[in-house]
């Protein structure tokens, strides 16, 4: 993509996004832009609307008004699976994997081929699939657990597996909802390493509470409060914003 001086093409452009649940505006007139290969972190107190923003982008929740443009394509009227095909992948807050399937099968399901009913019926597990699954398993530190049932993994490994399921999908934009929540210190370090590897060729939108982790990875930070943007910019700037300190970082 050409980045010109006059008009920059954003990867994701959210404008005037609002969603209201029986009058309660969980997200209120929200606008922000994400560049190609950018890591953007959304922080904010509980109930600020962070997860709802991801829900809106991936089509889980329908917007009341506003627009979400991904590479110029309007997402607000697309179905969740169309949005995935357009190139947006999303990881849920609690690890969302298939306990009854093996790690291999978990990854294979996200492999971007055979996504229609008849495609899935005639899907062949060929060398390309196996290589790709093994490569991703290596990235997420699960290469030697490929044939274990996913329910036997630790909490951290489940989080990685779900990240792996996104990677194999090859999305242009990855959305991660609290990827390090509930992880041990060593798992956090490894996850940060994993994300650093991923971001070389992806754009990432992350929700996270762990400030150290955020500082470590973020290019730019958005602070959400009551469905609106309280502050936006580089971490240093945001960290010293008195409004942010008052509602969020202060305690």
């Amino acid at each position: 993509m050409v980045i010109g001086d006059v008009q920059k093409d954003f990867l994701l452009a959210v404008e005037g996004l609002t969603v209201s649940f029986d009058g309660f505006k969980a997200v209120n007139d929200l606008s922000f832009y994400v560049d190609e290969n950018e890591i953007r972190v959304i922080i904010g107190p509980n109930g600020a609307g962070k997860t709802t923003v991801l829900d809106l982008i991936c089509g889980k929740t329908e917007a009341t008004s506003g627009s979400i443009k991904f590479r110029g394509q309007e997402l607000t009227h697309m179905t969740p699976n169309q949005i995935v095909l357009a190139g947006v992948g999303r990881k849920f807050q609690t690890p969302s994997i298939y306990d009854d399937l093996t790690v291999f099968e978990n990854l294979e399901i996200s492999y971007p081929r055979g996504r229609t009913v008849f495609g899935a019926l005639t899907f062949k597990r060929d060398a390309a699939v196996r290589e790709r699954v093994e490569a991703v398993a290596e990235t997420i530190f699960l290469k030697d657990r490929l044939h274990t049932s996913a329910e036997l993994l630790s909490h951290g490994q489940k989080q990685w597996l779900e990240i792996g399921m996104l990677l194999i999908q090859e999305p242009a934009l990855l959305m991660l909802d609290e990827p390090v929540a509930g992880m041990s210190v060593s798992e956090r370090v490894k996850t940060a390493e994993l994300l650093h590897g991923i971001i070389k060729n992806h754009s990432v939108l992350v929700i996270e509470h762990d400030m150290k982790f955020v500082e470590d990875i973020a290019h730019k930070v958005i602070v959400l409060h009551q469905g609106r943007i309280l502050s936006e910019g580089k971490m240093d700037k945001v960290k010293n914003d008195p409004k942010v300190i008052e509602v969020y970082l202060g305690h």
């Binding site: 699976n81 849920f92 298939y98 399937l101 099968e105 399901i109 055979g114 899935a120 019926l121 044939h147």
Partner: protein, 381 residues
């Protein structure tokens, strides 16, 4: 290649062989024609049970209306046979010769339009597959596209079963009412009521059953089968991995419907009549219990479960009719509370581990992949 490329793994092949031995050799040799015909009748429910393994066991979609599809298949077949049995020569004492007797009794003077095409066997065979598939597609599309699932789906399918039964019973002149379509005689001139015909039909049915097992196994072994399991566990994850969850559910529901309809059509042939008592709420939910007893994840288990529950039903309700309902009720509760994987689960946990070292050799048994889907219910024997 690896085990995934093959349709049946080794223990499943053995289960298949055991089933073939039972159905093709032991039962035909060991039972008289009357008892064999009973087995044939029970086996028609096994088609429904196999469909439920895919739809409910794998996909988590509980349909309490499978009797509807069993009935649709059965009625399609019965309409054809009834028309053949109601030739002008056979019905010349009626006030309108050439139409089914119950229509005549209900003062109908001509064949209703929707009966007309059932003069043709080709049309009938197509209809046996197409009618339930289309109906399941409509219901499935309407509900799954709006993300209706779980208990809501179960209850709506149950209501549909109720509606269809009341409709069939109420519209006596068009459907034969509560008695159903009876007095079926010949199929293209071949008398289906003779012992010899019943014997042949039994083998035809077993052939269909094996075809169904292979088809079901193909679906289960494909990526689609794994997606069904994935959907049962984390529907949203599948949806946000780029799949149209609704389409997969519709497919599972349709294929279960078609299996049930094939069973229903064969039922009509074997038993010689079709009535609303196989369509409604009670038979529909009993079909679920066959699958549950056999093991909701096991194709073979579903067949054995169907046979065992029906044998138990026949023998109990002959000798202790009161006990049967208590027994059936207890079975529902036990299978849910204590044995959620049914007979197949018991087999896998208790019998298989002891059998494997004998059959496969010690090292092979140890190396065998942790069998989640090992589906064998030969406990029946």
């Amino acid at each position: 290649m690896n085990e995934n490329a093959r349709l049946f793994d080794r223990s499943e092949l053995m289960a298949l062989a055991a089933l073939a031995l039972l159905l093709l050799v032991i039962l035909p040799l060991g039972l008289d024609v009357f008892r064999l015909n009973l087995v044939a009748k029970y086996l028609t429910y096994a088609f429904v049970a196999i469909g439920l393994v895919l739809c409910w066991g794998c996909g988590g979609i509980l349909s309490l209306g499978q009797g509807v599809f069993f009935g649709l298949g059965g009625y399609c077949m019965a309409m054809f046979l009834k028309l053949e049995a109601s030739s002008v020569a056979n019905t010349k004492i009626q006030s309108t010769p050439g139409i089914p007797d119950f229509m005549d009794w209900n003062q109908l003077t001509q064949l209703p339009f929707f009966w007309q095409p059932f003069h043709s066997l080709t049309f009938t065979i197509v209809a046996i597959f197409a009618v339930p598939a289309i109906f399941a597609f409509i219901v499935g599309a309407a509900l799954f596209k709006r993300q209706v699932g779980g208990v809501y789906f179960a209850i709506i399918t149950q209501a549909i079963a109720a509606i269809l039964t009341i409709l069939i019973v109420g519209q006596q002149g068009y459907t034969g009412g509560i008695n159903g379509i009876t007095d079926l005689r010949t199929l293209k001139g071949w008398d289906i009521r003779t012992d010899q015909a019943k014997f042949i039909l039994y083998f035809v049915e077993v052939a269909f059953l094996f075809a169904t097992v292979v088809a079901a196994q193909f679906v289960r072994r494909s990526k689609l089968g794994r997606i069904l399991v994935a959907m049962r566990e984390k529907e949203d994850r599948v949806r946000f991995s780029g799949y149209s969850v609704a389409n997969f559910k519709i497919f599972a529901f349709c294929i279960a419907a078609v299996f049930a309809a094939v069973g229903g059509a064969l039922f009509t042939l074997e038993v010689g009549f079709m009535s609303p008592s196989f369509v409604g709420i009670v038979p529909s939910i009993e079909m679920v219990i066959y699958t549950a007893v056999g093991g909701r994840l096991s194709i073979f288990g579903a067949i054995y479960g169907t046979l065992i529950v029906n044998f138990a039903k026949t023998s109990f309700s002959e000798s202790f009719p009161q006990l049967w309902l208590f027994g059936l009720g207890a079975l529902f509760i036990a299978v849910v509370l204590a044995f959620p994987n049914g007979l197949a689960g018991l087999w896998r946990d208790y019998v298989q581990p002891r059998l494997d070292p004998l059959l496969l050799g010690r090292s092979a048994a140890a190396a065998k992949w942790a069998g989640r889907s090992v589906a064998d219910g030969a406990a029946a024997e």
